[in-house]
């Protein structure tokens, strides 16, 4: 049985943080290996999705990795403004994760 599940119900962590002053990195860490593997299979979370959610060009998504040992998906994008520079909105980059919370997964029980 497949139903649409909010990603919030499938994870322990969804966070954003600076990776150095010029990059912003997102971690989506799933509850367990089984959940992680199921979500990976759906191929919903991709580089393209990240670009779409943050409405940036795909070239600005610098890394996209599925890290099995942590049951986690990581994506890193170019920071719109380098950390602490003029035009900064979030020095630590820790509050940029909200668009990820709206992800829905067609989850197979």
């Amino acid at each position: 049985m497949t139903k649409e599940v909010s990603i919030i119900d499938l994870v322990n962590v969804i966070r954003s943080k600076n990776a150095g002053p010029f990059e912003l990195t997102f971690d989506i860490i799933f509850k367990d290996k089984e959940t992680y593997e199921k979500v990976k299979k759906t191929k919903v979370i991709t580089k393209e999705l990240i670009a779409k959610l943050y409405h940036i060009s795909i070239e600005k998504v610098l890394y996209f990795v599925e890290f099995d040992p942590a049951n986690a998906i990581k994506a890193t994008i170019v920071r719109p403004v380098d950390s602490g520079s003029i035009g900064e909105t979030d020095v630590y980059g820790a509050q940029q994760h909200a668009p990820l919370l709206g992800i829905k997964i067609p989850y197979k029980e």
Binding site: Y54, F67, P69, A72, P80, S85, Y92, Q96
Partner: protein, 452 residues
Amino acid sequence: MKEIRVLSPVGMLGYGFPVKSFQKGLEKKPHVIAADAGSTDAGPHKLGAGVGIVSKEATKKDLTLMLTAGCENKIPVIIGSAGGSGAEVHLNWTSEIVKEIAKEKNLHFKMALIHAEVEKDYLKNKLAEGKIKPLGPVSELTPKDIEEATRIVGVMGVHSHIKALELGAEVILAGRSNDPAMFAALPIREGYNPGLALHMGKILECGAMASTPGTTSDCMMAYLREDYFIVEPTNPMRKCIPSTVAAHTLYEKSSPLHIIGPEGITDVTECKFEQYSERAVKVSGSILKKSKIINIKLEGASKVAYRTICIAGLRDPIMIRQIDECEKHVRDTVFTYFNDISTEDYKLLFHIYGKNGVMGTLEPQKEITSYELCLILEVVAKNQELANIICAFARSTLLHYSYKGRIATAGNLAFPYAPSDIPTGAVYKFNIHHLVEVDDPDELFSIEIVKV
């Protein structure tokens, strides 16, 4: 069985840690006590202005516990990225605190100071030799960048820490260091697997963050053996589980598979994270791919402007609906009024909380649903006086603007403070974030031995 034990009392020197946790860690007889005192996290201002991230009192408190324990137990104490940004002024600041503590507690030890601040002429030569390249999405370095930076540091690896240990240092105060270096130095010197040592260092540098409930303000102990290491928080209320340790390997890094540092790339693709005991996790499989060329990261900050802000609340729904138009009106009015000043000399920014204050251009939500907005009007300009003048003008323009349909004619903004305009001083930017190729790290990082 061959084993080396490393105690990390806290994720950031000055954040504080429970004395009980620290004592529990000491009971396990660590071979070294180490802590990371710095970060680029807090922005370029700390490096640019030469100030610290945490207070003197907080730093002194943490250091007192660590130094007295180090002296009593005859264990080396290693602090990296001293003072936050790890330049000369930060190193000196920390060194003064250490001397104060030594005097108060009657401690005597051999201290190594490892300098990380880089000379501009040296870098200009390196640049001319073509030995400097960008790190990350930044442009090529120019001599102007070097000149404009208020201070520049190199990020040292284990090499310099090991050298200090070999010189007999009992306390090491290092300038800007790669996060794992303080923790990995002694193990690598003793012949342990460098990939494991560096990975272990990456976990320890945040204190007990890689545990649950995680925090940087508590202690983490690591036991490094031949083919694996074990991490365990010393506070019994916390435990490491495979997911917390694996997740920490991802933290703050662009890619989780490779941890890049001056020693090379630590490949964690084949890593295994296993529950070793109730509160400890075993990590194996981290491999260091040593780089043939030594590349040292450079961090530099330059002063770019002076800033004045004004905080104001908006509560009128008729105005809130038209906030974009109000912003445009203020911008146009400022531009016209100050038409004798070049637009290169100032910038006007609107931070509108309730619209896109937190995410700025990344905000996907297009509709304002708040009944209240917080506006931070910001002006950055070439000097403080100009920033003050423009901010005052923009503020009064917005305060009195007769937007379409206005019926609340007494004033558009709610200021929490008088004066409403707040000069906040100099603004900095990381203008150097590059790699410099060196033949020997010693050319960048000099070691000074001091008898305390």
